[in-house]
Amino acid sequence: MKSFLRRPAAAALLSLVAAVAFYVIVGRADIFALVKAASWLNFAANLGIVALPVGLLMIAGEIDISFGAMIPAGAITTAMLSGHYGLPIEVGILGALALGVVVGLINGLLTTRTRVPSLLITLGTLTIMQGVVLWVAMRVVGNASIPLKAPEWAKFIFGHLMGNSHQVIIVWWVALALVFGFLLHKTSYGNWIYALGGDKVSARNAGVPTTRVTISLFILSATAASFVGMCGAILFNTTQVSGGMSYIFNVIASVVVGGVLLTGGFGSVMGIFMGTLTFAIVNKGISFTKIEPNWANFVIGTTLVLAMLMNEKFRKMATSYTPLKMKAVK
């Protein structure tokens, strides 16, 4: 039991159980309808694909908020290239991903080359990309919603509804979670990320390529966001200029519920995954209850604060833990 609580995902799992129990007991939610519903899973997948790299960035001690503009930017790029200009869909997809790489590179370079905190750097690129998206939509295309007709194969891979309800992006989310889990927990790259978040200077002295790791994480997070936007454009056959902003706090909240320490050095992919799931169920689950949906944000805020406090308690247990054997040696 104690070893379970020491894992970063513990608080997320407990919050999830508590939130579902609250919805079922107080809100008299139909648990079977909730489990079968697609709304929270679709929401979680879109959120989760961004939350994975953002969580890794936070473990490395940095933060990225520019993804709030990169989601619509990815959508607009695909729709502009393949919809407005009629280029093949491959160009649109690659264009969106390339944009993510470029913006991520800029974020990474500015963060590693200067001492300005990444929150401020990415606040700057967030604002710039918002403007670029709006300008492209209004001036280049002349419309905030750009129509896009993707071929069948592209729709099948990136944007169709499985069983007419579940977005295919859910599969992407689970697959990416496995990839990120492998990266963070089984490779030296993952060790470097933890080292970065623990102590940058020591990490560099120990031979960790800190600059390269940081830049690669920023590229991953911006590209993941433009990927989500691209999938959305292909699924819905159109784009929206706004809509990414609410992601900023939702993603950060998911990652934090998942037990990642904002100051770096602590967290797990399982935790990020569970945190996203918890956040999505709390957010979307309320409509399956008899509670007024207007209270959703209040429930989210309360869950967030409770999860934070639990996380802190468990983290203390984890970091102050000494196995029995070692005690005996002392």
Binding site: L110, T114, R115, V116, P117, L119, L120, I121, L123, G124, T125, L126, T127, I128, M129, Q130, G131, V132, L134, W135, M138, R139, M245, F249, I252, A253, V256, L262, T263, E292, N294, W295, A296, N297, F298, V299, I300, G301, T302, L304, V305, M308, L309, N311, E312
Partner: protein, 341 residues
């Protein structure tokens, strides 16, 4: 010796003040938009347009800046503004109680949320960014839930009496809102608090090194709670001004303040990591932000690009502030060098 040195007013000293870069930036930015916008921008209409923007964001940016000097962030300001507006309107309009009571109620909402923020920040090791995101969600939800529960809709109306309106919501000459004078007055109070009172030294000490500040006898917890209550109060005050001036309040309003205040403060040379900054810098940063935001509309530039211009200006500002700080900190005065040798 050092004290004497500080009193010397040389060009070099002026240049090394933390707000020197911001001031130069303001001159450049204003000159560019004056050139592009011409007499429309320089004239009274242009002046009032950016001053009105500056006043609202500036009132919140002052305490948010103090928090940042002390090493903290406050995201919840964005939800306190509408929560306060709604409280004023619900008390004074829906329950038909006197307006001063409504205003007091609105301000109390800000103080209360500020207190909760400060309490959680000082009693846990959770970063303030996360805590205030939590209270932001909570406040937003509570405001929406209660408003719909009591009023049955997400918007609330209020018609203020002429006296209250003249104090809080009037526009002089139809252009200059009284909020501008409140902003300047509040800035003067904050100047005194931060730079002339021992309380202000505590704020700087908090942002420099919390552990040492506590050891030096500064009541760090109480000070932090006070700072969050100030930021809650200022946000609530802007909410009061908005409802009195606009006669209606929306639940969703206010989220723009979250990032705009951070931008103003950071442009003004406050270090996000704490310990450095000044009230003059915050005020200048707010003015730069507002001049750019409004200047684009007078300049003939494509208004769809307004965010691009703001973002580029912001990045340039924080990057130059960073190098300015290096310059200021690595400097050792000639006289000092002389004494050392």
């Amino acid at each position: 010796m050092a004290l004497q040195h500080e009193k010397q007013m040389s060009f070099g000293n002026l240049f090394r003040r933390p707000e020197a870069g911001t001031f130069i930036g303001l001159i450049v930015v204003y000159a560019v938009f004056a050139l592009l916008g011409g007499s429309n921008f320089i004239g009274l209409a242009g002046l009032s347009s950016w001053l009105n923007i500056a006043a609202e964001v500036g009132i919140i940016a002052l305490p948010v800046g103090l928090l940042m000097i002390a090493g903290y962030l406050d995201i919840s300001v964005g939800s306190i503004v509408p929560a306060s507006s709604l409280t004023v309107a619900l008390i004074a309009n829906h329950f038909e109680l006197p307006l001063p009571l409504g205003i007091a109620g609105g301000l109390c909402v800000g103080l209360l949320i500020g207190y909760i923020n400060g309490y959680l920040v000082t009693r846990t090791t959770v970063p303030s960014l996360i805590i205030t995101i939590g209270t932001m969600f909570g406040t937003m939800g509570l405001a929406l839930g209660l408003t719909v529960l009591i009023k049955g809709s997400t918007g609330v109306f209020l018609v203020a009496d002429p006296f209250t309106k003249s104090l809080l919501g009037e526009a002089l000459g139809g252009m200059f809102r009284v909020g501008i004078f409140w902003w300047l007055g509040i800035a003067a109070v904050f100047y005194f608090l931060l730079h002339k009172s021992p309380w202000g030294n505590g704020v700087f000490a908090l942002g420099g090194d919390k552990e040492s500040a506590r050891n030096a006898g500064i009541p760090t917890r109480r000070l932090t709670v006070q700072l969050y209550m100030l930021s809650g109060l200022a946000s609530a005050f802007v909410g009061v001004i908005q409802i009195i001036a606009n006669s209606n309040a929306q639940v969703a309003a206010g989220s723009v303040f979250i990032f705009n205040t951070i931008m103003c403060v950071a442009i003004g040379g406050v270090a996000l990591t704490g310990g450095a900054g000044s009230i003059l810098g915050i005020v200048l940063g707010t003015i730069i932000f507002s001049v750019v935001t409004q200047g684009v509309f007078y300049s003939g530039l494509d208004t769809n690009l307004v965010s691009v211009v703001i973002g580029v200006m912001f990045l340039l500002a924080v990057l130059t502030n960073d190098s300015f700080r290096d310059f200021a900190q690595s400097f050792s005065a000639k006289t000092k060098r002389g004494t050392n040798a």
